[in-house]
Amino acid sequence: MTTFTPTTPDEVLSSIAWAVAEESPLEILGHGSKRGIGRPLQTEHTLDLSKLTGVALYEPAELVLQAKAGTPLAEIEMLLAQNGQQLAFEPMDYGPLLGGEPGKGTIGGVLAANLSGPRRLKAGAARDHILGINVVSGRGEAFKSGGRVVKNVTGYDLSKLMANSWGTLAVFTDVTFKVLPSAETEVTLAVRGLLDDAAASAMALALGSSAEVSSAAHLPERIAARVAGGALGSEAATLLRVEGFGPSVAYRIAALKTLFGKAGPLEEIAGEASQLIWRDVRDCKPFADGSDKPVWRVSMAPSQAHQMVLTLRMQAAVSAFYDWQGGLVWLRMEEGDPEAALLRGLLRKHGGGHATLARAAPAHRAALPVFEPQPPALAALGQRLKQEFDPKNILNPGRMA
């Protein structure tokens, strides 16, 4: 049982080259903040990237930042904030949900899990902001893809291939991200007391207006009390976030108020209070209860989400809330059974998408496909890619199985 702790890309390369030669699989680890996701690994050795750190390049005027893969996300976010910038895709922090410390996670892990947040609708996910990577494949080959500029179609976009690959194709040594200015002003309009179906209509109406809503979430009754330290109270809250320059935000909030004048009681939440709400929505705080009750993260067509949840409720005890206009559904299975077949069957009937078992006891994760099973032709294609980049199954073997 050995832990390799490389501090340079060359050391990453030699560690993997050794593992390939020995045919000895490695668990690829940053801070371990997402270790509880995916099939539990049983590798003899660990490749710990938490000492491969440092921001190599940050040019605010060029909107670009390059860092070693093990650089703490928190450090990068602080550096960006000092320059009025941010990772616009708002990477979520799995720590609270998975019973770990908040504020952990590396920039490499952000890409490996393709993290995003409530601004996903408008700003995309990590995959939409990655400009270039340096990696070492499971063949022990160091290579690069992409670059440091936004517009680049030179060769295949291997950065995107590696996004959401959970360390099963290659190990990042350096990542280069596009960064963006933070919004000057943020205001959230909360429509109170809506049932799920009315909330779905309200969110669609808001997103289809020219108010440029950057995030839309619906917290049903009681769930609402579990964000921002209870500041919202327990009445259902449909949350619409508007960001930008002051006069524009004021104008767009006014437009939304006109739109929803009769929908229910309206509340305006500004500044830090708004940021706190969205951070908790992002981090799935309502289900961060210290338990290991199964929690699903479901990506689907927004307009179908509440119907899928309604049908599910008839057959299982679940708590649910919605982000991304309903396109992201968080579900907690109250009776402890993940009900994977039931949920995935309903998802297929409601326009398709994918359901990831974001939290579950190791026994469930070992027995069930944590990631959405793919149709045979697609699964075979994925397998061929794995074979190309990691033919000896050295990197996180079985994690995505």
């Binding site: 500029v149 179609v153 976009d157 995107k160 959401n164 440029e212």
Partner: protein
């Protein structure tokens, strides 16, 4: 054609041409197979007209089943296939091969679904980019990526090339606006990636497919995100005595937290050519002209116009006009949008390049281009997506003068080498195709290129789909698949501890 080596035609395929044409007629009955040389002439090149080649046969399928059967047939018989959308590629991505079936997707021209609550449109790949906007504009929506060929280029081609446009600084490229595709692999298998939901489960193959230049699969359906049209848009037309000042102004606008809807720069030769052509009222005594467009609610646009104007003045602008009407805004754009034909008026031919550079390197790259221009004795005019560093140098030459095309191509290659040298890339939005294929080693090592080839091998192990494009050298997948592991020769024969 200048000295571009394409894969050697396969003799067995050439000998069986009649049989293949007959079989294609069985798979795609009716008018969907074109084999007469004069009729195939229309397909002999794409937007990169310096290269021409008649295909083996042109096939225009109408259904996904036909696409699947054509590809499976060709895969089983080792016949090459070149997919084509509208043929507007500027890098020769759809250049036919003598021994390849040219698979033209233009009959896939229907919008399949418009879904306003989820803000998506599902379209067949032959629908034009603008056709999507046209389908939803009565409800006030549009599709954001707007390559300048948008009236003709197909959405399937946009996926293949990861097309951009002047608005991609704020609204992203094709990759950021496509939610799903259906595609057919070379072996005939039909797979769906994504759909009306966000992000992929498993590897992001949608991300890989976008910009893969028709080498990995044939797209048969595309799901895109549509957006509500901004309430208003206004533009500033700003002139600077030097390109450095223009470049600094761009940096300062972004530094102030402003991401304009579009931000374009032109150099003196481009300004003069455009002004002579469309009389847009461009100032002629400046070295750099910047068009900054701001869109959104009126109150936001007014607020930002004031901010940008102040930044321009701080950077020594000598002229700054602010559009007071939609007509005036369009007149600012008229010269920029006509820049290519305008340059076409002052030179018999021009060759359009497409490198991207870190913005701060603009003065250095422009100076380098002036030196190269003298060295080669050819003029160059520059239009520049200033916000994202994407340069379009237009090299002026005369194809009727022996050797000038070769000279223009060498000049272009030197410009791209310069882009790579300053930290940029070979192509920002036009693709590698055949045009920049042999320059790939300027940017990538053999090991880097091998990894891209590995992706190719997972999708199309026999190199039958669009061969001769993107990769300077084809390597057999079996050879790439070998592991080169030598026990005892790695740096740490024992367990290393750092």
């Amino acid at each position: 054609m200048s000295g571009l080596a394409m894969p050697k035609p396969d003799d067995a395929t050439m000998r069986r041409r009649d049989e293949i044409v007959a079989d294609m007629r069985i798979i795609v009955p009716g008018e969907g197979v074109v084999d007469a040389a004069n009729a195939m002439r229309a397909f002999e090149s794409d937007g990169l007209t310096a290269y021409r080649q008649l295909p083996l046969v042109v096939v225009l399928p109408e259904t996904v089943a036909q696409v699947s059967r054509v590809l499976k047939y060709c895969n089983d018989r080792n016949i090459r296939v070149v997919p084509r959308g509208s043929g507007t590629s500027l890098s020769g991505g759809a250049l036919p091969l003598e021994d390849a079936v040219l698979l033209v997707m233009s009959r896939f021209n229907r919008i399949l679904q418009v879904d306003y609550p989820n803000r998506i449109v599902v379209a067949q790949p032959g629908v034009t980019n603008l056709g999507i906007t046209v389908a939803v504009e009565q409800e006030g929506f549009y599709y954001a990526p707007d390559p300048s060929s948008q009236i003709a280029c197909s959405i399937g081609g946009n996926v293949a090339e990861n097309s951009g446009g002047v608005h991609c600084l704020k609204y992203g490229l094709t990759a950021n606006n496509v939610l799903g595709i259906e595609m057919v692999l070379m072996n005939g298998e039909v797979v769906r990636l994504g759909g009306s939901h966000l992000d992929a489960e498993g590897y992001d193959l949608l991300g890989v497919m976008t910009g893969s230049e028709g080498l990995l699969g044939v797209v048969t359906e595309v799901t895109v995100r549509i957006l509500k049209k901004p309430e208003t848009a206004r533009a500033l037309l700003i002139g600077f005595p030097t390109s450095e000042q223009g470049g600094q102004c761009v940096a300062d606008i972004i530094g102030a937290g402003i991401i304009p809807g579009g931000m374009e720069m032109m150099d003196r030769p481009a300004i003069h050519a455009a002004e002579d052509f469309v009389h847009a009222g461009y100032p002629l005594d400046v070295e750099a002209l910047l068009i900054v467009e701001l869109d959104g609610p009126g109150v936001e646009v007014d607020h930002l116009i004031t901010a940008v104007e102040a930044i321009a003045i701080r950077n020594g602008s000598t002229t700054c006009r602010i559009s007071q009407s939609e007509q005036e805004r369009l007149s600012f754009w008229a010269g920029r949008k006509a820049a290519f034909p305008a340059v076409g008026r002052i030179s018999p031919d021009y060759y359009c390049m497409d490198g991207t550079i870190p913005r701060k390197e603009l003065p250095r790259v422009l100076a380098g281009m002036r030196e190269l221009s003298e060295k080669y004795g050819l003029g160059v005019a520059n239009v520049f997506h200033a916000g994202d560093g994407n340069l379009h140098p237009l090299i002026l030459y005369d194809a009727n003068v022996p050797g000038e095309l070769d000279k223009a191509e060498s000049f272009g290659a030197d410009i791209l080498r310069l882009c790579v040298k300053v930290g940029g890339v070979l192509t920002g939005e036009h693709g590698v195709g055949v045009e920049k294929r042999d320059l790939m080693p300027e940017m990538f090592s053999q090991v880097d290129l091998d990894q891209q080839m590995r992706v190719k091998c997972a999708f199309d192990p026999n190199h039958l789909l669009n061969p001769g494009k993107v990769f300077p050298q084809l390597r057999r997948c079996a050879e790439l698949g070998r592991m080169h592991v030598h026990r005892g020769q790695v740096a740490f024969p024992d367990i290393p501890r750092f």
